[in-house]
């Protein structure tokens, strides 16, 4: 480094202590400050209002003439001349510690349960860093959730990111809570933790989760980050990052198996769109910014397992599809990043089926390596494939029946209808507290398949038929 460079770098550090009085423009959650010292991109901003309260923010755009910062606490009540701004010279960091489990925080990681702020063991940058693909361990440990349609057909694997695509009024919270309660690795006692990030959800929803964790006695293993519907919308942008930072710490420094539930990703994306619109960026689809994919990937890719580390991060993001439309940019881009999806179907919910998981569009990409002999049971891969194939034919038959009437169907098609009914009522349907072992799940699957003639079962082997069919 040359002398002039060293001088410049020292100057930059000294100037970082400066405080600016007055801002030049406020637009939504954004503040604009002119004539500053060189401010770094994504640097942490402290914005002090006239009552002396500090709101945190982040630099979005920096140039020699003007700096744009977004304020996570919102800008309401700020006056242009009396607002003080300080730049911290480093990105937003939070203190993390194991003691954060059992506590409730806001989106920035500050406690809101009345207790004191926990003393951190480490201070970490909330933005995280990309994981080197060569450092990853390919996930293949089966998690038994006790829910047949997940264990049997869309198996959850430790280290997977498997979102729930739901709609308003569908029981996604119930399912997420049930998974959090029941999920376990078979035959292993391990340290586990749940990190819960709420973005723009209602107080009732937050309370439902807290109550559900309380009842199952796991609350002391749960850290909650709440940025609820009446909190500033901009705070939602930082909430998942804070939560993931803690999750990474717990998983890779404290050897824990972390399940992180993020709800509702749709609200997160809305906030992103809000900021993008205010900044006048060129929108892509439906007004969402062109970088929505990259931004979501930054969150979703912070999961998995690493070589040489015992812990893992399993992500269960929940998103409500606007207007139940799976091709909407939010579910669409999510599906391109996550390793499968669990899709809810309003029609099944209407018929009283819980969980209303649509059989065909749901998918778990990591399933193939986590099931079968020595992991679940040797017949599992073929059985799942056969159930999918048969159920897909049921859908065709039902469409046909709605046109020509059930009477006109062939006897074989009638058998398929019976199978479909049994599959939905006995295999998929279960109680909100029912915890089935994977063997029970697979046996139920065979029970449903036994309604079909043996010639129709192309995807299972002779031996499996002999052992389980009929």
């Amino acid at each position: 480094m040359s002398d002039s460079t060293i001088l410049y770098e020292t100057q930059k550090k000294l100037l970082a202590g400066r405080e600016y009085i007055g801002v030049d423009r406020i637009d939504g959650p954004l503040v604009f400050i002119r004539k500053t010292h060189p401010v770094g991109y994504r640097e942490l901003v402290e914005c002090i209002d006239e009552n002396g309260c500090t709101r945190l923010g982040m630099v979005l755009d920096t140039s020699s003439t003007i700096v744009v910062a977004q304020i996570f606490g919102g800008t309401s009540g700020l006056r242009m001349p009396s607002t003080h701004i300080r730049f911290r010279g480093e990105p937003l960091r939070i203190e993390v510690t194991e003691k954060m489990l059992g506590r409730i925080f806001n989106g920035l990681g500050q406690p809101i349960d009345g207790g004191p702020a926990p003393v951190g063991d480490e201070e970490l940058n909330v933005n995280g860093k990309p994981i080197n693909p060569t450092a990853r361990e390919y996930p293949r440990d089966f998690i038994q959730t006790g829910i047949s349609v997940i264990d049997g057909m869309n198996t959850l694997i430790r280290g997977q990111k498997l979102p729930i695509f739901s709609g308003n009024g569908l029981p996604h919270n119930e399912l997420a809570a049930q998974i959090a309660r029941q999920a376990k690795i078979r035959g292993a006692e391990t340290k586990f933790a749940v990190v819960f990030a709420a973005m723009g959800v209602k107080h009732d929803v937050a309370r439902y989760f807290i109550k559900s964790f309380e009842e199952s006695g796991v609350l002391e293993n749960v850290a909650l980050f709440l940025s609820l519907a009446d909190d500033p919308s901009i705070e939602r942008l930082i909430t998942p990052r804070t939560a993931l930072t803690l999750a990474e710490y717990l998983a890779f420094e404290r050897d824990m198996h972390v399940l992180i539930i993020m709800t509702d990703m749709a609200n997160y994306c809305e906030s992103l769109r809000e900021i993008s619109t205010i900044r006048g960026e060129i929108p892509s689809r439906k007004g969402y910014p062109g970088y929505l994919y990259s931004d979501l990937a930054e969150l979703y890719e912070r999961s998995g397992m690493l070589k040489g580390y015992k812990g893992s991060i399993t992500q269960l993001p929940i998103l409500t599809m606007p207007n139940d439309d799976i091709s909407h940019p939010i579910p669409d881009l999510t599906g391109y990043i996550t390793e499968g999806q669990i899709v809810f179907e309003r029609e099944m919910h209407g018929r009283g089926i819980y969980p209303p998981v649509a059989g065909l569009p749901s998918l778990s990409r990591l399933m193939k390596d986590g099931i079968g002999k020595d992991m679940t049971r040797e017949d599992h891969p073929h059985l799942a494939s056969q159930l999918f194939a048969a159920y897909s034919y049921v859908k065709d038959v039902r469409n046909l029946a709605s046109v020509i009437g059930e009477e006109e169907l062939t006897p074989l098609d009638h058998q398929y209808l019976e199978f479909g009914e049994a599959f939905e009522r006995k295999f998929v349907t279960q109680d909100k507290n029912e915890n089935r072992t994977v063997e029970e799940t697979l046996n139920l699957g065979w029970e449903a398949l036994s309604l079909l003639p043996v010639e129709e079962l192309h995807r299972v082997t002779e031996e499996e038929l002999e052992k389980y069919y009929g």
Binding site: T5, P38, Y41, P133, T134, P289, G290, Y293, G304
Partner: protein
Amino acid sequence: MNERIIGLVKRVNGPVIEAMDVSDAMMLELVRVGEVRLVGEIIKLEVESAVIQVYEDTTGIAPGDNIYGSDMPLSVELGPGLIGTIYDGIQRPLEEIFKISDQYIERGIQCPSLDRDKKWHFIPLDLEAGFTVTGSMIIGSVQETERVEHKILTPPDMNGTLISIMPEGDYTVEEPIALVETQSGEKQLFLMHRWPIRSSRPVTERIPLSIPLITGQRVIDTLFPIAKGGTVAIPGGFGTGKTMIQHAIAKWCDAAIIVYIGCGERGNEMTDVLTEFPKLVDPFTGRSLMERTILIANTSNMPVSAREASIYTGVTLAEYYRDQGFHVAVMADSTSRWAEALRELSGRMEEMPAEEGFPAYLPTRIAEFYERAGFMKTLSGQTGSISIIGAVSPPGGDFSEPVTQHTKRFVRCFWGLDRQLANARHYPAISWLDSYSEYLDEVTPWWEEQVGTSWVQNRAEIMELLQKEVRLLQVVKLVGPDALPDSQRFIIEVCTLFKNAFLQQNAFDDIDRYSTTPKQMKMMEIILTYWRRGYQAIRRGVTLVKLRRIKVLQDIVKMKFAISNDDLEGFDKLNDRLERALNQLESIYV
């Protein structure tokens, strides 16, 4: 490194940096930004100002930071040691980075692409001093892996006379192996040289395509074949199996070298390749598949501008091996992410958008990329090819979006993935209605010569049946299957059999994951026997129910799992059993 300051940061907006006080900078020059030395590239030059796209996270970069020039365009290192390595989008070896910075990728890491310490055993060609040296000429070879004999090439822009060449022996990539007198003085040659990623390497001429790239995937090889040197697009919504097809082709196709570009996709998918490929054995040589594979991984959470560069990096490596006379297959998964990176950068530069926010130069860029494929006569007189297989991820699975539409203009083969098929777990979910291949006529002579003369008629017959089936299914949807006569219901029956027994292929089954061309041919013939003979039988009065009940049908459905590639007699036996069963059935009705 001879660094010089070429300007100062003026504005930071994500991965795009505006520079001021710019002097002495070159368009597309590789630059380093700030004291952390982030890698970037100059993409716009004006009087005293420039726009730089940075390939790493720009957090903390402030106005006034220095920008250092490197005096060369963004280039890749070409030499022995590429095979089996996993690189990021700008050819930094991820395994080396892992050693330096542990599980996360730190910024500003400088790491040579090729191992500087490893010695390679170089065998020179018998060249005399005074020999005329031209570009891309072979001057010797190195055994890179057990299956790849790496030819050492002169840089493509070389012209001169040979002064000396080193004897056979062990050299690192930085030790000189030859000395050449050129117009601009004496030049040393090394085992490696550099080439800018955005320009294609020169060749003598393009050769018409005629050889199919055999993938072992029945629906591809038989219905929609791709030629060596061809281009193909695979569009499909999420969960339709783009990546599975790319993986299957990377594993089993008969190219000598595979370049797999994971462009903006999932981290675990790259890990899957990394853990699985070394264990898999190539059916042609019996060696590990990793010994022919180069991976470029720029996952979705890695910086977006490096994603833009990754496909150029990948295809440049492919061109280098093509110039040595290899057949190379490039998998780009997914080109949509690359197009989105273009869109994001264009948006940050405040350019006027065309369709859906994509820049107006999107089609040009797509065309440039796909045109780097081809069957070529190289400067060294060899022949080699690059086939590009690009996945496209259309938003909402809607093929009318700009990336799919523009890609369709520049590729000659199209494997459209169908959501319905994927939902029924019919994989590979390549739709036989939307897909097409313009290479059919080009590869037909090869099939007829190598496999069997009836191939083209068989294929046409089955395609016709599939088309007929669509129309019949529409009728069934309205009035039910009972309204159709047996002869027409039999078409549906045969098509269902064809889909289950032939088109569906299980990538995880040890036997089914890969089918040789003779196996594909035999399987098709058995199904066609059932069709031709069964149709005759129905005209003689045999009922459909009877035809369906033939016992041997169960074995036909499972023949893909049951009969291995080497056991062609197994198929003949199966065919005989089918014929006998049909004879028996007919004999009752005569």
